[in-house]
Structures are given as C-alpha cells and as structure tokens.
Amino acid sequence: MAALFKARKALSLCLSGCRTLSQLAELPETHQILRQTCRDFADRELIPIAAKLDKEHLYPTKQIQELGSMGVMAMEVPEELGGAGMDYLAYSLAIEEISRGCASTGAVVSVNNSLYIGPILKFGTEEQKKCWITPFTSGEQVGCFALSEPGNGSDAGAASTVARQEGDEWVLNGTKAWITNSWDASATIVFATTDKQLKHKGISAFLIPMPHPGLSLGKKEDKLGIRASSTANIILEDCRIPLDNILGPCGAGFKIAMQTLDSGRIGIAAQALGIAQASLECAANYAHKRTAFGAPIGKLQAIQFKLADMAMAVESARLLTWKAALLRDSKKPFTKEAAMAKLAASEAATFCSHQAIQVLGGMGYVADMPAERHYRDARITEIYEGTSEIQRLVIAGQLLKEYQL
C-alpha cells in the first residue's frame, strides 16, 4: 500500500514537474521522442518535396493524412474524440519541426489544430465536438477559420458579414478574405455580426460545412510564400445553416476569436521558428562547404557574426514560445507571452531567412537552394494571426495593465 502511495506521489510530482521552467532547459522524454519523430518525418517526407509543393502550389494531401494518422492534426484533442491528448508544448515542438521541413504544411497543420479545432474544443457542445472535431483528427478532412474580411483585418471588431435568424435557420451574408486552407477544407468557423448595435459584442461564431449551398470560394490567391496551402475568399450569399450551428453563445464571437488567436499565435510562432531554424541550418551548412579567400567562409568573422545573431534570434524566440506554451498548459494567463513569442519568432524568421540569403550570396537568390523559399515563406508570419503591429499593441496592453497605467 505504502509503495503504491509513493509511486502515485512520484508520478504526480513528475507530472507537476512537467509544468515548470526546468522544461525550458531540458524537455521531458516524451516530448523529446515526439520532437525527434516529427523531425524524422520532416527530413524524410517533407524536405524532399517542399520545393515541388511550393513551385506547383500543391496541397500535401498524402503528408497531411500521414500526420493525421500520427495524431499530429489534433494534438490537443482528447483521445476519446480521436486526438492525441497532448499539451501545447508538444504542439509547438511538432509545428516547429514540421515547418522546418515545409512551412506550408506547418501552416495547414497549425490552422487545423489552433484555429479550427481549438475554439470548438473550448466553446463547443459535446454534440458539436463529436460532429465537427472527430472527423477532422485523421488528416482526411481539415478545417479553416474565417475572421478577416476585405474591409477589415486587424480591425476584427468591424465584421460586416452578417447573420440573421430566419425561422429555424441562420442566414449568413458577406465575404471573408485571406482564409488559409479554404480550398482544401471541409468545414469553416465564420464570424458574423448578429447585432450591429452591440458592435464587437454583437459578433457570433458559426460552423459551416464545406461545400455548402450559399458558400462559395474566391480565386486561390497567388502568394509570395506558403504556396502549398490555399488562401482564398469565402463568399456567403444567403448561406443557410441550422440554428445549432452557432458556436458558443450569441454575441461571444469576438471573445472566441481573440482567445483562439492567443493560442494560434503560439502555433504561428512555432511555424516561424521552423522557418528560422531551416534558414540557419542552410546558412551554416553552406558556410562550412563554400570556400573563398582560401578557406571555408564559416571561418570569416562577418559570416560568424551573422550565424551567431541568427542562432540567438531563434533560440530566444524559441524560449519565449515554450514559455507561452507552458503557461497555457498550466492554465495561467499567457496572452502577453504568446504575443511576444509570435512577434519574436516571426521577426527571427524574416531576419534569419534574409541573412541566410546573404550568406549564400548568389546561390541564395536561386531556387537550387531552399534559402529563397524560406525568405518568401517567412514573410507571412509577420502578418497573419495578428500583424507585428497588433502584437505590439497586445503586449503593451498587457504591460499597461500590469503597471496599472
């Protein structure tokens, strides 16, 4: 009996130890194995095809299905609903490793996990979870998140898409813009105004299957980067859905969106880390092999300073990302840290990919090396799921509260 008690105490200590800062220094074994598994997957399945996916704008169907069977498409979802039942630290590790292989695939996985499944898991009814989450855990189907509109991105409170109740249906009208996964998704969460008088407190969230009458897609955007993931407008013209398709209470849409984005930022931070890490590795490997002035260019201080700055940018952003994930896993407030992580990681991605091209010189400018793709992929991380400017506002807002200004 005493042995059982000791064992249980040791296990709970171990589990609570899992939520401490010591994890920033060394990850728990499960997380190390997870990280290695995702890295092996990226090395073997993503890196060899990433250039082709980018060039031909191809959605990685097979790879998303494989990731689904590994449990990566629904990492936080409890096992009963078909997910992997893991924590957000594990999620950020997985997204970073996948994005290091292919940033587009990282985007698809991140949107499905954080932006689509995330809010349903948090705000959905048990029925909704079974209906809208379980089929989206295997990689066979992915979802998307429709908040932005042609008339408002950062200004999310000004949603001009409207939803009115008509008998036993909601009828939605409006256009959503820049929706990642749109062309490959089987469902979407749409944010629409149900009561214009209440301004941002009059926005609600709705679940719409795709395809669906009254919902159509705009042209696939021809983007600078993350080209294997589709981005398009979602157009709603008298789109009718059952009353039960509302997610959360009426008027809770803005709150749902903001809380969802808080978590989504950790995912995007992880994606940016993957791109930054890939750029760093590309530059370091090149510096080792390329000779100039009689020696590998890695011996030159100018190159060494770049590599050092890149490594530091990645590592500090990574620690911010892990901290935000750990805080979220401990159910502590994490809004400020998540914004910091996303800001730091996205700026690290653009910095590292820029410098990687510089280290590679002419070779960095051509498609023979992945540096140019990392440069193009990195750029979006400073824009979506909250621009760098918005992140600064979020951080300042939290700071001001802390300092009671």
Binding site: L34, F41, A84
Partner: protein, 254 residues
C-alpha cells in the same frame, strides 16, 4: 509457446552525423553528438510489432545494452509498439569495449530467461558494421538463424525467412525458437504515433546487470588505433576509350 519476441535495439551515432576521430586516435567523438536507434534495429522492432498486430505473437520485449542513455532507445521502441523494455546496464570501460560476443551472451541469457520464441535483431550496427551479434546469439543458444531477412512469415512452429544473399534471394524454413536478423527491405519502420509516444511513458523498463545474467564482459579484442579514411585523391579525365585503357595499364590496374 510463450509468444514472446525479444528485439535488440542499439543506440548508435545518428546516420546523418559527420563522424570525427578523437585526437587520441582511440575512437570517435561521441560526446554531445546526436545518437539514435540503429536503422536496422528500427526495422527489427517494426517487424516484431507487425507480427504482434497480426496476432502471431503476444509480446514484444525491447532490449538494449549500454549506459543510462540506452533507455531513450528503448523508449523509442516502446513508442513504436513494443510492450516492455529491458535495459542491461553497461557503463564506462565495459561499454567502450562492448562488442558482439558480449552482447550475444547477454541476449542468449535473456532469451532463455524470458522464454522467447523469436529473437529479432538488426543485421548489423551502422557504427561497427560487425554483422555478428545475430549469428553469435543463435550459436550460443544452439538455435537456427535466418539472417539478412527481407521477408519473414510464421508458419506454425516454423519461420520462413527470405534472405538477401549475393546471388539473389534464398528462402529458408527454420524451427522456432530462432534468431532472425533484419535487412533493409524487410519493412519500412513506422513513425511513432503521438498516442503511442504517450503510452510508452507508462510501459515498464526493467534494469538488469550483466553479472545477474552470469555474463563476463571481458573483451578479447583490443583497439589499437582508429584513423580517418585516407583522403580521396582527385581523378583524371581522359578523351577516349583507348586513352582510358592506356592509363589503366600505366598505373598497373590491368
């Protein structure tokens, strides 16, 4: 039949790492270098797990010999689907001189202790390339062996093994209990699924000392020197086939 399969997994320097010889020329640099499960051992684990999924065997036990870090390798096997692990603790000088003879003695002792009906190993490790442990283990146990397996099927109380040999493929049917060593084309190891990685945390890894198994770790081999391979010399380009033949004769190659 116990339905138990013993799988040996070795922790080796990762295949992608650039190997460097230690300055004292006694070995290669291992400190701080990335290690992972020997690729042929991964294939062995995969085969054992597949046999279990087909309900042809009941339990997969992963074994590794080495210091504390060997447990990471066992955990990876558990995450792939092995049921439990055995860590045979070998450290320090003993670990430096650990080779196929000692490992096969350990595996033979464990195979008897665990009443295993099959021992599946990788055909060789990518660090020493010995390709001996499977064969020695079978000999010590006086069990039949099917090495370089590219296909394994259970047929009642026998195992059919298709072996990759120089001349092509050779099929042997051997009695259980037996030792099988996995070759490259036997299967494609699965990626551990996240639920399995989580479950692996709860699976047991038993700690055993070689002395408990009555195994003497003394090595009969002494490493005299480890050197880098000689630098590749630049080749020569010739214009015609006649020139080629001429040059080959000149340099004494034909």
């Amino acid at each position: 039949m116990s339905g138990r399969v013993l799988v040996g997994v070795k922790r080796v320097i990762d295949y992608a790492v650039k190997i460097r010889v230690r300055p004292d020329k006694t070995g290669v640099v291992t400190d701080g270098v990335k290690h992972s499960m020997n690729p042929f051992c991964e294939i062995a684990v995969e085969e054992a797990v597949k046999l279990k999924e087909k309900k042809l065997i009941k339990e997969v036990v992963a074994v590794s010999c080495g210091p504390q870090q060997a447990q990471e390798t066992i955990r990876t096997a558990l995450a792939m689907g092995a049921d439990r692990g055995i860590h045979v603790e070998v450290t320090g000088k003993d670990y430096d001189t650990l080779g196929p003879l000692q490992v096969s003695k350990i595996l033979a002792a464990l195979a008897k202790k665990e009443d295993a009906q099959l021992v599946i190993l990788g055909k060789q490790a990518i660090d020493d390339d010995c390709n001996q442990t499977g064969q020695m283990t079978a000999a010590l146990l006086d069990w039949p062996q099917g090495t370089f397996a590219s296909e394994v099927s259970m047929e009642g109380d026998k195992v059919k093994v298709v072996r990759e040999i120089d001349g092509g493929l050779e099929t042997v049917k051997i009695n259980i209990p037996a030792v099988v060593t996995a070759d490259l084309r036997l299967n494609t190891p699965r990626y551990a699924t996240l639920p399995n990685i989580m479950k692996a945390k709860k699976k047991k890894i038993a700690n055993v000392k070689p002395a408990d198994l009555g195994v003497d770790l003394t090595s009969r081999l002494e490493v005299l020197r480890v050197d880098e391979p000689p630098q590749r010399q630049a080749g020569m380009k010739v214009e015609t086939v006649d020139d080629l033949v001429g040059k080959l004769k000149e340099t004494g190659h034909i």
